[in-house]
């Protein structure tokens, strides 16, 4: 079974070690094995533009030795038009004066992105993890999670629109080049974010619905996600990032390592983006971010949440003394009838309830309040997402 071999749950920790780690993480404040605070990320090294043959690329190396490369390639593709979708009426096709077309162009720009609606099929994302089959369900789940975040707000696919007949098809290929030493989700997500930030598409020279014709000067190619936005009040939109958070008891830990995940009660992958998107604007009840400059300059949007099956459910349980044959459960006969009953009751307790210092894989789901606290912690203003996004902004995009 290839999937179990590389499953992050296969940490070589004994039940006693798991119980110790769990108790350390339950303390207030939690004591993490690598000495980080609960909100600290692992240090990382990042660079972009490393692949000359790709439209955008990035490499990130975490301090624990996991390393990933993401490459973004774009191709022009003909848009499959469906009946009734945006039918081209005969009156509109050709035979028009130049100035009329120009006027149309301006009008089209005025309509904004509502008209330039992309499709989910325009982005294809693959994840390659060494030693794991590419149809392994864990890998498929990772890829589905990353692409779900990219597609959720329609921001990215809206940018791939060229004209009504053509669009860019974006291939995002992520390769983990080290063995999966920890659950690779945050690493892959941050690498994808940087690769998309460094992605440039050739400048379009043609106009309207004619066959696209591009500027061959690469220096003039604009970024897919522009550096700075046109209006000062709104920050430039950024691709989403997906963070991994876990909870032990009521303690919330960001960016858990493999050992910490092995004792997690619940783990969530939360995708957020930092833009104001047009599609969901009507939902916004809050104020315009420009009105409240004292707050964080970003307005975060929640895009997706997925529960990660915590590998702690697969860890071997410890055996309590009451149930341990080598420690007295076997010589029940030597005890009196009363003692026998007491021992049996203790053994039952060991099966159903937690015994101090004995590791038992968590049963049941996550508490609702803990789940809400996890998401709230990710989304809080000036919190961890702002920190991560600031750090990623600082990466030189070459």
């Amino acid at each position: 079974m290839a999937s179990t071999q590389h499953h992050p749950s296969h940490v070589l920790l004994s039940p006693a070690e798991l119980a110790y780690l769990h108790d350390a993480l339950l303390l207030v404040p939690p004591i993490r094995p690598d000495g980080r605070g609960p909100n600290d990320f692992r240090p990382l090294v990042a660079e972009t533009g490393i692949l000359p043959g790709a439209n955008g690329s990035a490499r990130i190396c975490f301090a624990d030795g996991t390393e990933a490369i993401a490459g973004v390639k774009a191709e022009v593709e003909r848009t499959v038009r469906r009946a009734g979708d945006d039918t081209v009426y005969l009156e509109e096709g050709g035979g028009e004066e130049e100035d009329v077309e120009e006027g149309e162009e301006v009008e089209e720009k005025g309509k904004g992105r509502g008209e330039k609606k992309g499709e989910a099929a325009w982005v294809e994302l693959t994840v390659e993890i060494p030693g794991v089959r590419d149809d392994d369900s864990g890998t498929v789940f990772l890829a589905a999670m990353l692409s779900e975040a990219l597609l959720a707000d329609g921001e990215l696919v809206g940018r791939l629109w060229i004209n009504r007949r053509f669009h860019w098809k974006l291939y995002i290929d992520i390769i983990l080049i080290s063995p999966p030493l920890s659950y690779p989700l945050p690493l892959l997500s941050l690498t994808t974010h940087l690769a998309l930030l460094s992605t440039r598409l050739p400048r379009l020279k043609s106009e309207g619905d004619e066959d696209p014709f591009f500027d061959d000067d690469w220096a003039a190619a604009p970024y897919l996600f522009p550096r700075s936005s046109s209006s000062k009040s709104q920050p430039a939109p950024r691709p989403p990032i997906t963070l991994l958070v876990m909870a032990v008891g009521n303690n919330i830990l960001f960016d858990p390592s493999k050992e910490e995940l092995a004792v997690a009660d619940v783990a969530l992958a939360v995708s957020v983006t930092s833009s104001t998107s047009q599609t969901g604007k009507e939902v916004t009840k809050g104020k315009n971010p420009s009105n409240s400059p004292s707050q964080s300059h970003r307005s975060l949007r929640l895009l997706s949440i997925r529960t990660i099956d915590p590998p702690s459910r697969l860890t071997p349980p410890g055996v309590a003394n009451a149930a341990n044959a080598a420690y007295g459960a076997a010589n029940l006969n030597n005890l009196g009838n009363n003692g026998q009953q007491q021992k049996a009751a203790e053994a039952r307790t060991a099966e159903t309830e937690a015994v101090e210092g004995v590791w038992r894989a968590p049963r049941g789901g996550a508490n609702r309040a803990v789940l809400a606290a996890l998401v709230g912690k990710v989304l809080e203003k000036g919190g961890i997402v702002d920190e991560v996004l600031d750090a990623l902004e600082a990466v030189d995009l070459g």
């Binding site: 079974m1 979708d85 009507e282 949440i305 049963r363 809400a372 709230g376």
Partner: protein, 298 residues
């Protein structure tokens, strides 16, 4: 050299004309026919597959068209049985979930091999069930849970439902969780509680963006103008715990109340679905062929 052996079509492609039928369009946009906090009616029956150790069949009615039927799922549970000799030691029950659309279940034909969305669904289902099962009572054994989606819940009119696939996937997942929970109960596998799936969505009904979006339970994408966000929840009612949470959409982070309300409604939908699982009518005493003979002997 051109191919002269076959009669080929014309070289240039054309698009067939599409006539905008004025009197059909308003009729196609159908509103929701049930109150916002009601889920669709379900039919659930266990013990439908005699050869499996546990099985269940779930049918969800659709309210979009009176005659048409909705989601139909069948689930069979095989095991617990011992793991093959080659498998590594496991102190727990090894859970394998398999979700497959029948090739004819959806508008677009599905192949016989599972595609990535089906694999994705089975990982979600595994997460939802793993929390419910008491896995340490069966060391060194495995159980296979196979869900076949016999009929998907899709609008037949292609043009109207672009981008609805992901919302349909959420509905399918909640059905998968409910039917698998019933099949697990039928197989007699120890669980901490009966789990059930529920979906809640934030929808915008009117086409003008001024109207306020509302939260509905068990959304059917074709009944609503636009779905802004949705979440699918697997919930254990007596423990008050969530085993799987899948949210997707676009919500402002400043508005945590909206998100919390959505999750609450998802839990509400899951509670409603749970009544079908725990209802005794779903589990007849002589539910399986041959079971009555067994009872006579005992």
């Amino acid at each position: 050299m051109t191919d002269r052996r076959r009669i080929n079509g014309p070289p240039g492609e054309t698009i067939p004309p599409f006539f905008d039928d004025a009197d059909r369009t308003p009729e196609a946009v159908k509103g929701r026919s049930r109150p916002p906090n009601a889920i669709r009616k379900m039919f659930l029956k266990t013990g439908v597959t005699p050869s499996a150790s546990g099985s269940a069949y779930l049918e969800i009615s659709t309210s979009a068209k009176p005659g048409a039927s909705g989601l139909k799922l069948s689930c069979s549970v095989h095991g617990p049985r011992s793991l093959p000799r080659s498998a590594p030691f496991s102190p727990h029950l090894v859970l394998t979930t398999h979700v497959k659309y029948a090739p004819f279940a959806t508008r677009q034909r599905r192949g016989y091999l599972r595609d990535s969305s089906e694999r994705d669904l089975s990982v979600h289902l595994e997460t939802a069930l793993r929390g419910a099962i008491i896995a340490d009572r069966w060391p060194k054994s495995g159980v296979d849970i196979i869900v076949s989606i016999i009929e998907g819940d899709q609008e037949r009119e292609t043009s109207r439902s672009q981008g609805d696939e992901v919302w349909e996937m959420m509905n399918a997942l909640s059905g998968c969780i409910t039917v698998a929970a019933a099949a697990l109960a039928d197989a007699g596998i120890d669980c901490v509680d009966t789990v059930a799936g529920g979906v809640a969505a934030l929808v915008q009904d009117a086409s003008n963006s001024e109207s306020k979006p509302s939260i509905v339970l068990d959304p059917v994408p074709s009944e609503h103008e636009k779905i802004l966000a949705a979440c699918c929840i697997a919930y254990l009612p007596t423990r008050d715990e969530v085993t799987n949470l899948w949210f997707r959409g676009d919500l402002p982070a400043s508005d945590m109340e909206l998100y919390n309300a959505l999750v609450e409604k998802g839990i509400h939908a899951s509670r409603n679905a749970n009544q079908y699982v725990t209802r005794p009518a779903a589990h007849h005493p002589c539910r399986r062929w041959g079971d009555d003979e067994y009872e006579d002997a005992a």
